[in-house]
Amino acid sequence: MAEPAPLLSIQDLRLAFGGLQVLAGVSVSVGRGEILALVGPNGAGKTSLLNCVNGLYRPDAGRILYAGEEITGWPPHRVAGRGIARSFQLVELFRHMTVLDNLLLGRHIHMRTGIFTGGLYWGPGLREETVHRRAAEEVLDFLELGGYRRRPVASLPYGVQKLVGIGRALAMEPTLFLVDEAASGLTRQEKEDLARFMLRIKHERGVTILWVEHDVQLVADLADRIAVLHYGQKISEGAPAAVLADPVVAEAYLGLAGRG
Amino acid sequence: QEPYKVGITAAITGPAAVEYAARVETFRAYMSKVNSEGGINGHPIQLGYEDDRGEPARAATNAKKLVEQDKVVLLVNTSVSATYKPVMATVTEAKTPLLFGGGVCPQEVFPPANPLMFCTTSFAAQIDSDFAVRFMKEASKDKVRLGTATMDIPIARIGIDAAEAVGRKIGIEIVGRVTMPPGTADFTPFSSKLKDAGANWVFAWSPWSFEIGPYEALLNLGWQGNYMLYGHQQPIDAAYPRLNRENLYALVGASILAEGLPELKAMQEIAAKHGASRLDVEGGVAAVAVHEALKACGWPCSREKLQGAMSGLSITVKGVKGGPIQWSRDNHFRTEQWYKVYRWDSARQRAVTAKEWTKVDVAEKLKELREIIK
């Protein structure tokens, strides 16, 4: 029985900064339409792994295959052009732009407007703006951010900024969504909203999600599978219940708090 | 009484103020002397002045204001050569005579002269250089090994080019040349290049700082040769006693105070009486020229009439220049240029003459130069 080919397949990825081995041969794959959660202690290399997929870091060794194509070492904008979006741990929004402009920037890869059509703002330039404005508005609506449309993001509370970060990625209409700690700093109530959005993204939009998160309950409830990273190595992978029950994981990652 | 309106755009502040501020002050002092004596033909002179800071764009605006709005009959430019073109552009459109009274004389006043443009200053890059180089050859017993120093502005480079061409022609060895960028902080590297090239004469033709700077650096390096520069009256007067060196030659087109001539002393008193803190001869000469021109124009004086009057004017400034400044139809520089060379006598603590006033026929000289430089 042939397994369907995974959407993203990471093979034996290695990355070091100076003497520090951040990723020491990690292999992980994400199937189409699934949510794979990536957890692990601080500094385990989770963000670095996302950075490698996304092209911000160039791995020292290993391969990254996306939809059958090798994308190892591609520059980030090319990776993004293939439909891989991401959100960031420290938000990384365009602070002086409005929420709407942040989302419209997410539409960048779908737009063609150049200097002349843009400068004229007439004919094709105007039509394109309108079409993509509509798409951005849909995302605003979806994430219930409509009221912040014209606010510069720097003046928004942290929780809203996290959502804008997700919205910006969604505006790209990605196939694969790399999420880095979307829930940190949110209250329970807001996490519930987030959970709702993520499930809808998965089910309604059919987006595959690779999700780095520290909130174990959130991850356990939502993810299809969990992989655990520890000092640059994968120490466990599988269904949430099984992984969380794994004593190795409990010791390295969860400690006492995890079971509480 | 209705006045004669004269406008002046000058580098009163800004980087070039070192050169021009004193010139404008003297000019203004002289004008107020004329007014205090009842003006010209019973009409006072109304002087409108604007500071251009040596910036072309400001000079353009100043010229527009003075010519188009204040309706002056004569515009005077006492500023850096960079401001010439914009001012020329304005006066050409408005057909107003323009006098270069303080800066270098531009191409346009030499024959065939632009009908609107006149010049009173002695600085004429190429002719100055020619005279200087010939003097060096004449004054020195040994073979002249000439080094040249100039600031990197187009007009100064043209002068030095001429010096080298003439030098080669009359059998002087050109051993080195340094062109110094305007922001130069330390002249020593330039001077040591000239020294190491073995120059026994150095000629400099630039704004003052770039003439005296390399000289002092050469002194600091222990150089013993002779140095010749264009003697800007005001600063050379200060430099001679301060440096107290005998090998510093100053080529001038106007006398300097250090020589102690009574005519200049008188001029200095007039300036002081009318509020100029110091006397600048070129400023004074320009003022005399304006005075003479307006006198010749009579009353009423239109721009056209003034231009006509100026085209045949002859201005004598006794004791200051070796001969008159004479303008003709196609020569608005002067038909004859007079030069003198000073050097410092440290025993007597005053400037002495190294070469007395000498006449150069401008038209002929230009023809000759054109051939040499080609």
Partner: protein, 269 residues
């Protein structure tokens, strides 16, 4: 309650001369206690903490009303370093470390607010490294390259080196793995006992925070809407539902339960 070390009353903060972020906020933190500040996003928690620790004149934020009393004295109009000099130290939500300095240099910037009893700088530094061994390993690394959690540890380490009397922490366990986050609360509790540290905490891990806290405030839309002792807060039905994720029936809710795509009312800015 005993005399409060920190007393905020009637605080109002306006951003950009136009947006009111916090209005009429009053809260008290008694000496040696641990108080938590809860609230949804945009409630004004960060703004309140920043108001206490002082805005730099240029932040485009100003306190338009209310007072902040510290040990009986007003600290309202003081420069942040003067506030810090009196023993109030803030661990901010963002921009909490100097990215271009190394970890070691980051720790060296802290100016202790008071002389520790017989404890040298070296020893306090060792103490920080004991709490956060990772920092020791990374001590020569440029701090900007630290991972999210490592940054948080560094920020806390810096704050502790200031030897504060009052520690303000904005989002304590932000980005920290559960193991460390759990330990950290333990460390804070110990510091409070050992050094007599007073703590005002903003924390989303409400269950754990309330367990060690003495008192809590709940903020919403710029105002304090509810306050009580920690145990009573833990038992409050709304807190249970909105902050602890305990359903009406008293069972822990699963995040999957939100799948019905229910729309919740939101108050937008």
């Amino acid at each position: 309650m005993t005399a409060s070390l920190l007393e905020v009353s009637g605080l109002e903060v306006v951003y950009n001369h136009a947006v009111v972020a916090v209005q009429g906020v009053s809260l008290r933190v008694p000496e040696g206690r641990l108080v938590v500040l809860l609230g949804t996003n945009g409630a004004g928690k960060t703004t309140t903490l920043r108001a206490i620790s002082g805005f730099l004149g240029s932040d485009n934020a100003e306190i338009t009303q209310g007072t902040v009393l510290w040990d009986g004295q007003r600290v309202g109009g003081l420069q942040p370093y003067e506030v810090a000099g009196r023993g109030i130290t803030l661990v901010p939500e963002r921009e909490k470390i100097f990215e271009t300095l190394t970890v070691e240099e980051n720790l060296a910037t802290a100016v202790p607010a008071r002389r520790a009893r017989g404890e040298s700088r070296r020893e306090s530094l060792d103490q920080v490294f004991r709490h956060f061994p990772v920092l020791f390993e990374r001590r020569r690394q440029t701090a900007g390259y630290l991972s999210g959690g490592e940054r948080q540890m560094l920020a806390l380490g810096q704050a502790l080196l200031c030897r504060p009397r009052l520690l303000l922490v904005d989002e304590l366990s932000l980005g920290l793995a559960p193991l460390i986050a759990g330990n950290l609360l333990g460390i804070l509790e110990r510091l409070r006992a050992e050094l007599g540290l007073t703590i005002l905490l903003v924390e989303q891990n409400v269950a754990a925070a309330l367990k060690i806290a003495d008192y809590g405030y709940v903020m919403e839309h710029g105002r304090i809407v509810y306050e009580d002792t920690a145990p009573r807060l833990l038992g409050h039905a709304d807190i249970q539902e909105f902050y602890l994720g305990v359903g009406r029936e008293g069972r822990a809710k699963s995040y999957r339960d939100v799948k019905q795509y229910r729309r919740k009312r939101r108050w937008h800015g």
